[in-house]
Amino acid sequence: MSEVLIEAVGLSTGYAPGEPALRGVTFAANAGQIVAVLGPNGGGKTTLMRALLGELPPFEGRVDVHGEIAYVPQTEQARLDFPVSALDVALMGAYRRTPWWKRLGRAEHDRALQALDRVGLRERAKDRFGTLSGGQRQRVLIARALVQDAPILLLDEPFSGVDRASEATILGLLGQLRAQGHALLICTHDIEQGRGFDRVLGVHGEQTFFGPGAALDAAALERTYGSEIVTLGEGAAIAVQCHHHDHEHDQHG
């Protein structure tokens, strides 16, 4: 499988016309690929996701999307006071394929429960969403994306606030989706993790890198995290050592 599911060509986008927040993005994610999106805070990772979703217009270039998109946003803005259970939230993933005059049937309930099971929250299915912890809520939103069963998944820092064990579980799950031919875009601050995916896309106001993780060299890292290296001594040390002294990464990160 190598058909392109989502791609951008010469994409420039932003929040005010004439002031692009992100320029010159050209990349493609094929079926069965995970693309890591790396970049410093304010680098344009979330901006890219919103442009791919069609929320932000292309100022230049274009975005081609072949299929439905499931999206797990970065800053979860969910209303914690809503009377909805974790199961209700996961079931929202079935809205698109259920016409309004039909109930969300048994099959969809089973699917939603299974998705919660896969993120390790089966036994919390009946609990109010607002009473779950931050990391658990993040996992419910990932379960909702699983229920959507869309060919394309955009995950904006899906592991922020998620504990190591759950992160490993979810990574395994995303690997299964990849094997089934989904295309995934994952924003992350974990350079080593990003390197392990099929492709890495670096952004820092503009595209700084696109290619296999192995090709992400010191120059590309500096282009991506460059200004941080100058202004933030510590961050630079980590970013640079990630490349030059891989074995020391754990001590620093």
Partner: protein
């Protein structure tokens, strides 16, 4: 004890209250979930200029009120997009403008006697067939809207960022909810008037909201509580010879207070802000 409901005008009032509590409960559930209480109150008040000009211009009062309310809603959906103003700011701005316009028209342009007070407070005991049919239509409309758009309203209210990727249209849902509320408020005018329409829409649902564990519970509970409160208020008003609208507002307010206090006592935590 229930002979009050043998009287024809009381029976009409009873039917009206039951129909309006269906519309009020179903839409009210979304009002409290989507934090539209201020809008529900404002849109009733925004009918004021329309009602003032209705008689002099020879327009049926409900139509004039509806026109006024929908203009207000359309203006609001435009203003609401300005992030500097915010939804409450935009609502406040427009409702003040509507009130000022209505007051000017009522005092300077048209002589007193347009029955504004009656339209603000309603006459639950003097309804005609047309009023009842309108209430029935609105109850049916609220039911259809809730069935058709409930998932849209839930998904966008819960988390607007992802609504689109879930396949629901936020813009369409929001407009339908605001316009549906405007129509419902206008339908409630003859019975409870502009000032108390918000009572039917907000208070029963806000009360049930305190204890509901799911959205279907909230929807059904709001309708049931609204209907019960309406019937009891009618009976009280008849027995005590008081106007039913204010009795209903007072009664539902007291029940909200009791439930909120009871819940706070049970949970041993501060009284939740509605």
């Amino acid at each position: 004890m229930l002979e009050a409901f043998d009287l024809p005008f009381m029976q009409r009032a009873l039917v009206a209250v039951l129909l309006l509590s269906v519309a009020g409960g179903l839409l009210g559930a979304w009002v409290v979930l989507r934090r539209l209480a201020f809008f529900s109150h404002a849109v009733g008040t925004a009918t004021f200029p329309g009602l003032v000009v209705a008689a002099p211009w020879g327009i049926a009062a409900p139509l004039a009120a509806l026109g006024s309310a929908l203009l207000f809603t359309a203006g609001l959906t435009r203003l609401i997009r300005d992030p500097r103003l915010g939804p409450d700011g935009a609502t406040g701005l427009l409702v003040v403008a509507a009130l000022a316009l209505g007051a000017l028209l009522a005092s300077d342009v048209y002589p007193a006697g347009t029955g504004v007070d009656q339209l603000l407070f309603g006459t639950l005991l003097g309804l005609d067939d047309a009023d009842l049919w309108l209430a029935a239509a609105v109850a049916a409309g609220a039911l259809v809207l809730t069935l058709a758009l409930g998932r849209t309203w839930l998904a966008t209210g819960f988390e607007p960022q992802t609504a689109r990727t879930l396949g629901v249209s936020r813009a369409r849902g929001d407009w339908a909810l605001l316009a549906g509320l405007a129509v419902a408020v206008v339908a409630m005018l003859p019975a409870v008037g502009a000032l108390l329409a918000a009572t039917l829409l907000v208070v029963p649902a806000a009360t049930v909201r305190l204890v509901a564990r799911s959205v279907p519970q909230l929807l059904a509970g709001s309708v049931l509580l609204g209907a019960t409160e309406g019937v009891v208020a009618l009976w009280f008003a008849y027995e005590l010879d008081l106007p039913p609208g204010p009795v209903l507002a007072l009664l539902s307010g007291v029940i909200f207070g009791v439930v909120a206090l009871g819940q706070a006592a049970a949970a041993r935590r501060p009284v939740p802000v509605p």
